[in-house]
Symmetry: C2
Subunit: 437 residues, 2 copies
């Protein structure tokens, strides 16, 4: 069979960039055999020319001059692995304008400035491939864009941030405090030196924005995603949750409701028997519900050098085959060709809730709490109070049935005004993915 | 955005065919919005023109004349949902020769006569898309062909037959006998009137052949897959397995070993904590291990009208976009362009085993058994013997450490020759998917 040569540049020679170079070197023969493509690395651009990396490049391949890539007419694909949303965006736009197709793993850029980047690609009749931007090596972007295209997607539940999942797993399984688990995640390479974007939920929200753009076929405004991180999660709540049969996760949730599309990221209790509750450590999983296919789920390593590099190289191949361009050209949500999704206001979502109140131990306390909840039509499904040594600060844990978020917000305000309530009430969502079968 | 009209014919208007027509009718707008394609059903061909179906077709669309499709120059895609390997193959070849691209869910045909069909497509510069042939709506074919292309795949473990999984789940969870569970599966629509191909493992082997062709990039001879079904599984073994912490499944296994590629389907005990052990009822799951990506897994409904139709329509879209053709053209294993895989001889595979011996209850029995195993260098990892009322037929259950299949075969022969062994020894594989993380 004839083979076709494809010249590639990598911009950003960090962890993932090194992994991509490694795959292109080590699996070259396998890839050519399976696809008929010879993927030839021509340039690797980085500011740092001396730091030792995982792979050894031929003399002269590593340089710091983006212009050389822009002016090399033989390079058809540029892999941009530069983080952030400013310079990274400018680099991508320059490359597209110079006629290069762009493969990227930068979820923040696509979530926050996607429309601008996608429009630049269209203007120059080029495409962007970004399978590596969500969930590392798990081919979930491809699944939504090709495998599930026939479906109206109603719901997605994803554990899409390995750092948070690792921290929550360690807190839950080994009883570590948040700060300890975070430090360990950093030592193990599962968390960045500055973990803010991971632990505050932004990274999950970025991925949710990208997946939703593809799944729901409407423009998504990243800034409308209601996002809450895990920084304030207390071990005591994880323990009470477990006692009631629930595991704490940070799911990214997309749900078509009769009030619009609800997109949200927040710490949530999930029943311990749900498959998503069993996704532990740095792993990711996404459950997608379609009207024809029912429930499908995708699992694997959501980050790391080689898993992410696997997705980048898959995208290189998809671009080289010409397939990425065709899908890009006919996907109206990549750019400004569709209307914005009607978003469900946060207070209109319906959820179960976990509440932990700190109250004084005296007769009639529970009646007062139940009263406040009852006024907002929130009914209690379970409660838990252990015997306490102190009588002026006793924790009472309540699980509710389904309730409007707005009603719950009101009820919390009312409860916290009661004399018997001594601290701000902790409120955590309890989520239940749809049943299939 | 401009839209493109694509005319489609469905050959075979049974369960899945009706599901495809339903999606094309009901989700037409959604599909056009997401892909820019207008999928127009032009012909539905079936011998039975009167049976009521799920969908109502426009007057004249349903007919029994394949020639009308062959001669309709506007039809570019034929969806062939005719079962079996004889007539179905001839129909596919005729359609390809007439210039139609073919979408099919017929795994038996592709596993047994794939080379001939694929070569016909190549000869006429057309393509076949067969994502629906494996695991219903789970986009696992697409994952291997595009999402994981950068990887050398080492191992696949799949629960790919919903009928067997339903039966084994019912036996395991509700203690039903095989015959009872099979009848229930038939009543619930999870098993055919003639369930032979499902329960004897052939259906799983068909799917394994197709997935392996894509995963390992070499020609696969379906008839070399060592295949054993669940027809002879006894409830008593399922119970002993559970007692030891194992769940009975029928996995399809592909494994690169240093003796070649091992492809096999056999009833197996899987540790109850493994994710695959938790796939229950009619669901399917496939775990794939790649050198870069590590462990990824895909889960969903492996059969049924709408899940399979979801995959068929995804393939129609992939063909209409032109993407299926490009992947088909550059996949050397679809046809006779590659050499055959070097297969690992069955006796060379290494596995753990579960043995149930029926022995007389007398001193020295266990020593004799252990002796026979020891001679073949098979060591025991666990054993189980309950107190028995009878003394001439006592069951002894043994779990072994890893052993060569050939050695185990010899040991069984030797054991069954012992005077103390009163019935043929039951031997079931105990499989352990690779660890990742």
């Amino acid at each position: 069979m004839e083979t076709e040569k494809v010249k590639i540049a990598i911009i950003g020679f960090g962890t993932v960039g090194s992994g991509v170079a490694k795959i292109l070197q080590e699996n070259a023969e396998e890839i050519t055999h399976k696809t008929g493509l010879q993927l030839k690395l021509a340039h690797v651009v980085d500011m740092d020319l001396v730091r030792p990396r995982l792979v050894t490049l031929p003399e002269g391949m590593l340089h710091n001059d983006l212009e050389k890539v822009l002016s090399d007419g033989e390079v058809s694909i540029a892999v941009v692995l530069v983080g952030g949303t400013d310079i990274a965006g400018d680099i991508q736009k320059k490359l597209l304008a110079a006629g290069k197709n762009v493969v990227t793993a930068n979820k923040a850029l696509l979530a926050e400035r996607g429309e601008e980047i996608f429009e630049t690609a269209r203007q120059h009749h080029r495409c962007l491939a970004f399978g590596a931007s969500c969930c590392g090596g798990i081919p979930v972007v491809g699944a939504i864009r090709t495998g599930l295209t026939a479906n109206r997607i109603s719901t997605m539940y994803g554990i899409v941030n390995g750092t948070c999942n690792y921290i929550l797993s360690e807190m839950s399984e080994s009883g570590k405090e948040y700060e300890v688990a975070l430090k360990e995640a950093q030592a193990a390479g599962f968390a960045e030196a500055d973990p803010t974007l991971d632990v505050n939920g932004s990274d999950s929200a970025h991925k949710l924005a990208i997946l939703s753009l593809l799944a729901f076929g409407q423009k998504i405004n990243y800034y409308e995603i209601s996002t809450e991180g895990i920084e304030n999660i207390q071990l005591t709540d994880i323990r009470y949750g477990r006692e009631l049969g629930y595991v704490m996760k940070l799911p990214a949730i997309a749900e078509q409701t009769d009030k619009g599309l609800s997109l949200r990221v927040h710490p949530s209790f999930i029943n311990e028997n749900e498959p998503l509750a069993q996704v532990s450590g740095p792993f990711n999983a996404v459950s997608i519900f379609g009207d024809a296919v029912g429930h499908t789920s995708y699992y694997g390593r959501g980050a790391g050098m080689m898993p992410t590099a696997s997705a980048v190289v898959a995208d290189i191949i998809d671009v080289a085959r010409g397939n990425a361009q065709r899908v890009f050209d006919t996907t109206p949500t990549l750019g400004c060709m569709t209307k914005s999704a009607l978003m469900c206001p946060p207070e209109e979502i319906v959820s179960r809730f976990y509440l932990r109140l700190t109250v004084v131990d005296q007769p009639g306390v529970f009646a007062q709490i139940a009263n406040v909840l009852g006024e907002r039509k929130i009914s209690i499904s379970a409660c838990l109070q252990h015997e306490s040594e102190s009588s002026d600060r006793v924790p009472v844990v309540i699980m509710t049935h389904l309730a409007r978020q707005g009603d719950m917000n009101q009820a919390r305000e009312d409860m916290d005004k009661l004399d018997i309530v001594k601290e701000k009430t902790v409120c955590i969502h309890v989520v239940t993915p749809p049943k299939d079968g």
